[in-house]
């Protein structure tokens, strides 16, 4: 469950910060919608080519995960509206065989998954590199960008077993907000956002270079800054209002190569101008 670290340091004053809420729920009930449950079960069983019944359902950003029994993770991500498959994981397909596929060869396999996803998703995803996982698989990631701004939690991940070339896992998230609905122009500078975080969290700036990003769950344009009191902590400061939406670890996977932010043009909105002008 996506939990946040609430700003306990703000308790002396009115806290200008709130939590991000949970978008992952475990062991949900679908009993209230029998048709949806039947659709999810059928889609997941067909995909896994099994007649086993899922023992549990989870929710990940509106996708329903059907968990199948077994000692290792075996699950299917399903769009509950129409039963389309948004991903799966089957750790039974991960082996400890000596690698037969190089990272480049495995990338070709992962690319086939990317090529199979709807164009509406693929056109906004940018390849973000490969890394090894605890299972020994290669994980390839594609991240969503809108006008060059990174979107948290909108991605495609694909894992390939290097011993067999099996795809062990892939997951395409929903894109809850269309690109045209997302604002990518900040109204406050990263320096102001950094100071807001420093003041609110009673910390000091670190060497972390602020990033401009979009919270893919809620559509907020945020400055991701880091401040340090006892230890470094990240804050997502709304780039339109200065409100701290979240503090803690960076939420969701972040493209390790992403660095856009400090060079972004800032356009102060009438709202921000009114605050700077003395509205309180």
């Amino acid at each position: 469950m996506k939990k946040f670290v609430f700003a306990i340091f703000l308790t002396a004053f009115f806290a200008a910060g709130a939590s991000a809420h949970s978008v992952v729920l475990y062991n949900i009930s679908l009993g209230f919608e029998p048709q949806t449950q039947a659709l999810v079960v059928s889609a997941a069983q067909n995909f896994m080519n099994t007649t086993d019944m899922p023992y549990q359902f989870d929710l990940n950003r509106e996708e329903v995960i059907a968990d199948f029994p077994g000692s290792l993770l075996k699950q299917v991500y399903v769009d509950p509206r129409n039963g389309s498959i948004m991903g799966f994981r089957n750790d039974n397909l991960a082996t400890s065989l000596s690698p037969k596929y190089s990272a480049d060869q495995a990338k070709i396999i992962a690319q086939k998954v990317f090529d199979s996803i709807p164009f509406s998703y693929g056109q906004e995803l940018v390849y973000g590199g490969e890394q090894s996982t605890y299972l020994g698989t290669y994980q390839y990631s594609w991240y969503r960008f809108v006008n060059g701004v990174f979107v948290f939690n909108n991605f495609l991940h694909v894992e390939v077993d290097p011993g067999t070339g099996n795809v062990v896992f892939w997951h395409l998230t929903f894109f809850p907000f269309s690109s045209s609905s997302l604002n990518t122009t900040p109204a406050i500078t990263y320096q102001v956002a950094q100071e807001i975080a420093n003041i609110e969290m009673q910390g000091k700036s670190t060497n972390f270079k602020p990033l401009l990003a979009i919270d893919g769950d809620y559509g907020h344009l945020v400055w991701v800054v880091q401040t340090k009191s006892l230890y470094p902590i990240y804050a997502e400061v709304d780039a339109q209002t200065g409100f701290i939406w979240y503090s803690g670890n960076v939420e969701g996977p972040l493209d390790p190569l992403y660095s856009y932010g400090t060079q972004a043009s800032v356009v102060e909105t009438p709202f921000i101008k009114s605050i700077y002008g003395g509205l309180s």
Partner: protein
């Protein structure tokens, strides 16, 4: 040295020492923080006061809370009466302590759930439902505001 100038110099030096005067970003940040601290000041608190307790009826349906902005004052005793309409629902102001309330409580239609607690900590918390009630769940949010007493 003209001793009459000492107080004046002192007043000039204070902001310089505090680091604010030379940092426009910090000044703007302070203004934004101040705005956010007071943005609910002119709004009415939610619900009604009954025997010293702020009683607030909250209606929960797919996919909204009503009211979706709940405002109480720091130090008040609060009673939230949660009513689900149509489907089982949930209520959590994530990260906020609400007495002994279990955030995983399922609120069934026709069976209101009452939460009683003291609003001791000022702040804002996002309201959401830990109970899945259909596609659209993630859009089901609200804000619980405990307005500072200072």
């Amino acid at each position: 040295m003209n001793l009459k100038l000492v107080p004046v110099m002192f007043l000039v030096l204070i902001p310089l020492i505090s680091g604010c005067a030379g940092n426009p970003a910090m000044i703007d940040a302070q203004k934004i923080i101040s705005y956010n601290q007071h943005k609910y000041d002119n709004m009415s608190a939610s619900g009604i006061m009954l025997d010293g307790v702020r009683v607030i009826n909250v209606t929960i349906r797919n996919f909204s809370y009503s009211p979706d902005v709940i405002i109480v004052n720091q130090g008040e005793r609060v009673e939230l009466v949660l009513n689900a309409i149509g489907a089982p629902q949930g209520f959590e102001a994530e990260g906020m302590q609400m007495g002994g309330y279990n955030a995983n409580t399922v609120i069934n239609p026709g069976s209101p759930v009452t939460i009683s607690f003291s609003a001791s900590t000022a702040g804002e918390w996002i309201i959401h439902s830990p109970v899945y009630s259909g596609f659209g769940h993630d859009s089901m949010t609200g804000i619980f505001v405990v307005r500072g007493s200072s």
